[in-house]
């Protein structure tokens, strides 16, 4: 078709053509990697905790006076349960996405094998009574919840190793890859006389530090021990009826203040906020990178418009001549678009290779996810479309050049 004259024209303007190619290639290489990073961050941020997040809030306190024992703790919990907006409440040592803390433990299949990785697993350790499952809204896949008799109650710091436990599916699979974990014995200590029986498996319960890790075991391995520890420092997770979170949070705080006024509250944290805080950095990075990507694409688009416009003006006479010799307007538009498409394809091809190389390098150095083919191809399409779109404007203007006007300049 018109390839031969286009190639001839490009050969006359090597530096311009080269710049366009480099521009497209660089843009593609960077944009596709940005897309890949943003997508993987977004995936991290949307992993479910396994709880009914929209209906939950957490509340921590410290008692500065008064009595703090198992019965005052029960009184506190019962005063919360009298609230009609409250579905249930549980005293716990932590909750998913809370952040770090001394919660990581390891469980073993035999008492002495805790240090052997084949027979043990690291896990987050939660301490909750039978209200835990209902309050958090965990989905029980197998087995049953704790019953009241199984709960070890005591002051913080008293020695108590429970007889039963509920584990998350991820932990169950890691410990017992073949067959059900239900009824199996696990050990938290070296003591062979302290086995713990798995009585239930929940579908999902993320660890407190889940937001900071991409390691599936670190984020999903959890064990719930039926322990209630009373002491001057307490942490409650409260589940409320949908839509009553704001009022319920205040009322719960007031109710607790009534049972013991010598109480300093930590910040009341609705679970949505907990999630926001936990993933704040990932979210911010995703936003920052997306903005960079968009600005980059915009700059490339403007640069292509600028360059193509310039070539159109430079070749005004040539266009006029061709029009005078019988070329249609469509022919002129097609000429410029084809020329641009040629440059774009070369740029995109080089860009795709650069993107892949960059992605491999980032992956090896910074552990980012490898660039998936699908995302690379979408980026290729976006950049190519952008290149053509940007060239269309000047090409249409070129088509409007009247032959007589262009030839008069000769």
């Amino acid at each position: 078709m018109e390839i031969v004259p286009i190639l001839a024209a490009l050969r006359r303007n090597k530096s311009g053509a080269l710049l366009a190619v480099v521009q497209i290639a660089l843009t593609l290489a960077i944009v596709s990697n940005i897309v890949s990073i943003v997508v993987s961050r977004t995936y991290l941020m949307t992993r479910p905790t396994g709880t009914q997040e929209h209906e939950l809030f957490a509340l921590g306190y410290r008692l500065t006076g008064g009595i703090a024992n198992v019965s005052t703790l029960e009184a506190d919990l019962n005063s919360i349960r009298t609230n009609s907006d409250v579905v249930d409440v549980v005293a716990t040592n932590s909750y998913p996405l809370r952040g770090g803390g001394w919660l990581q433990g390891s469980v073993g299949l035999i008492p002495g094998a805790l240090s052997s990785r084949r027979l043990s697993a690291h896990t987050a350790v939660y301490q909750m009574d039978q209200h835990g499952l209902g309050t958090l809204g965990l989905e029980l896949l197998e087995g049953r919840n704790f019953n009241a008799a199984e709960i070890e109650r005591g002051q913080t710091g008293t020695d108590s190793v429970p007889l039963v436990a509920i584990v998350s599916k991820a932990l169950a699979l890691e410990l017992f890859p073949h067959g059900s974990a239900l009824g199996k014995l696990i050990y938290l200590t070296f003591d062979p006389d302290r086995p713990i029986a798995v009585i239930g498996v929940v579908d999902r319960l993320q660890s407190p530090g889940a937001a900071g890790t991409i390691d599936e075991h670190a984020s999903e391995n959890s064990i719930i021990l039926p322990i209630v520890a009373a002491g001057p420092i307490g942490l409650f997770v409260v589940r409320v009826r949908p839509g009553t979170l704001d009022t319920a949070m205040r009322e719960v705080q007031d109710a607790l203040f009534k049972t013991n006024p010598n109480r300093i509250f930590g910040r009341l944290r609705p679970f949505d906020e907990i999630r926001r805080t936990a993933y704040q950095k990932d979210r911010a990075i995703a936003i920052a990178l997306s903005t960079i990507g968009l600005v980059l694409v915009a700059i490339t688009a403007f640069a292509i418009v600028g360059l193509t416009s310039f070539w159109v003006i430079r070749r005004k006479t040539q266009i006029g001549l061709r029009r005078a010799l019988g070329a249609t307007r469509l022919g002129i538009v097609r000429y410029f678009l084809l020329e641009n498409a040629l440059l774009c394809s070369v740029g995109v091809a080089i860009g795709a290779m650069t993107a892949e190389t960059l992605s491999v390098w980032l992956w090896s150095r910074y552990g980012t996810d490898r660039l998936p083919l699908f995302e690379l191809l979408s980026s290729v399409l976006i950049v190519a479309a952008l290149g053509q779109g940007a060239a269309a404007l000047p090409a249409l203007r070129a088509a409007r050049i009247s032959p007589t006007e262009a030839l008069r300049a000769l």
């Binding site: 530096s15 200590t189 300093i264 980059l296 430079r314």
Partner: protein, 439 residues
């Protein structure tokens, strides 16, 4: 002559405002993105304690051994057990040594109408203030000799002193912490190493510092436990009481030493190896000696204090800058070639190739300067955006200072002038006659 170039350049820019605007935009965006990313990395990786970072060393003792970590990972725990920390303190094998941890306490303000609030207190052995060069606003910190004898004493941070005493000299006054009374013996001045290298365990490396400081011996006596990470070897929980915790193999204290001379570093390394071997001999460690002694810089690298995200953003930003420069180059080339006729006439009227070359370079310089100025504005906007996006630690980091301002403008100027050489070189080779005919 430069004046003439300048006037011609301004005329040239005015003849082609859209193209010039695009070039300026490309340059300023590129510069702004790069500088924003570099600022963040610069501060994050910056030397937190200039002049001393080569003398201060973090100590790690492998008290957990291979069972406490992933297979193939030789890195011992970042913190020490209480017994190791105490043993190293007592040994006094370094010029200065400090064992410390952070605890959380409740302050009850003297004014009963004010609510009690929580603060973070650094519990530390005496050398802390001298070793880390902490400036004092009022009073003197506790020294080696008087710590155990005198009663409950506390050093307040400047911010807490402002909150409790309105910033006045509070030395000698008392503060209620966790319901007990502590006497203020000193108030620190602004002291805020970025990152907080001496305590990166919690990952909150860029957060605000400590509110107050308590002596280690006093706090241990009062059973103040750490508010930070406690890591225990698998299957060896910390026990139930504070005394159990002190005896346990759990790690929860940070240990730093000051070793001003190279010979002392080697000596201390030997000391740590010997200490580990003694533990091995006594049957406590069932693995070879594996201590670590790292200066501030190596420590920050080993603890991965500069988040990969910061480096990642610099890579992305550099790529961005490259694209912007290529855009600018293309546009500048277009602009220069578009003026071939003008250059042809000037050549015919006697201007030398060098004249035209410097003419175009001056034009690039002006565009670069404009780009730099816009780039500074954009950088400010980007940094503000970063502060809103990442509240907390980032707010203190994402700040513009004079050197950054100068660097932004310089980068824009330099980049455009370098990029401008090619169009300038092309302009130089305009053949006068051909252009005259065309015009």
């Amino acid at each position: 002559m430069l004046n003439y170039h300048f006037r011609l350049a301004v005329a040239g820019i005015r003849r082609n405002p859209v193209l010039t605007l695009l070039i300026v935009a490309a340059v300023s965006f590129g510069v702004a993105m790069t500088m924003t990313a570099v600022t963040v990395l610069y501060v994050m990786a910056g030397d937190p304690i200039p002049g001393r970072s080569g003398q201060l060393f973090a100590v790690q003792i492998d008290s957990g051994g291979p069972p406490s970590r992933k297979a193939g990972d030789p890195e011992p725990a970042t913190q020490l057990t209480y017994r190791d920390a105490l043993a190293l303190l007592d040994a006094r094998a370094a010029r200065r040594q400090v064992a410390m941890y952070e605890t959380s306490m409740t302050v009850a303000p003297a004014n009963p109408s004010l609510m009690p609030f929580s603060i973070f207190v650094r519990v530390t052995s005496p050398d802390f203030f001298a070793m880390f060069d902490v400036p004092m606003l009022y009073g003197h910190s506790w020294s080696q000799s008087n710590a155990p004898q005198t009663g409950p004493i506390v050093v307040l941070g400047k911010k807490l002193n402002e909150r409790l005493f309105g910033g006045t000299d509070s030395v000698g006054k008392s503060v209620a912490l966790n319901g007990a009374s502590y006497q203020v013996i000193a108030v620190t001045d602004d002291w805020d190493p970025k990152p907080r290298f001496y305590d990166v365990i919690g990952g909150q490396n860029f957060e605000e510092g400590d509110d107050a400081y308590l002596p280690l011996a006093l706090s241990i006596g009062r059973g103040l436990s750490t508010a930070e990470y406690v890591t225990c070897p698998p299957g060896q929980p910390p026990g139930d009481t504070f005394a159990d915790m002190l005896r346990s193999e759990c790690v929860w204290l940070q240990f730093w030493v000051q070793l001003p001379h190279q010979a002392e570093v080697a000596g201390y390394r030997r000391f740590l190896n010997n200490y580990s071997r003694d533990q091995q001999r006594s049957g406590r460690f069932a693995w070879p000696a594996n201590p670590r002694l790292r200066n501030v810089r190596d420590w920050l690298v080993a603890q991965k204090v500069v988040p990969d995200d910061a480096r990642l953003s610099v890579i992305v930003a550099s790529g961005f800058f490259a694209v912007c420069l290529v855009s600018a180059l293309g546009l500048m080339l277009a602009k220069a070639l578009g003026r071939s006729a003008e250059f042809g006439i000037r050549r015919a009227l006697g201007a030398s190739g060098r004249d035209l070359f410097s003419q175009v370079v001056v034009e690039s310089g002006i565009v670069g300067l404009l780009g730099g100025v816009c780039g500074v504005t954009l950088t400010l906007l980007c940094l503000r955006a970063l502060r809103t996006l990442f509240p907390g630690g980032m707010g203190r980091i994402a700040q513009m200072d004079e050197s950054l301002l100068a660097a932004t403008i310089a980068l824009a100027l330099l980049a455009t002038i370098v990029v401008g050489f090619y169009p300038a070189w092309r302009s130089m080779h305009v053949a006068p006659a051909l252009q005259m005919k065309g015009g």
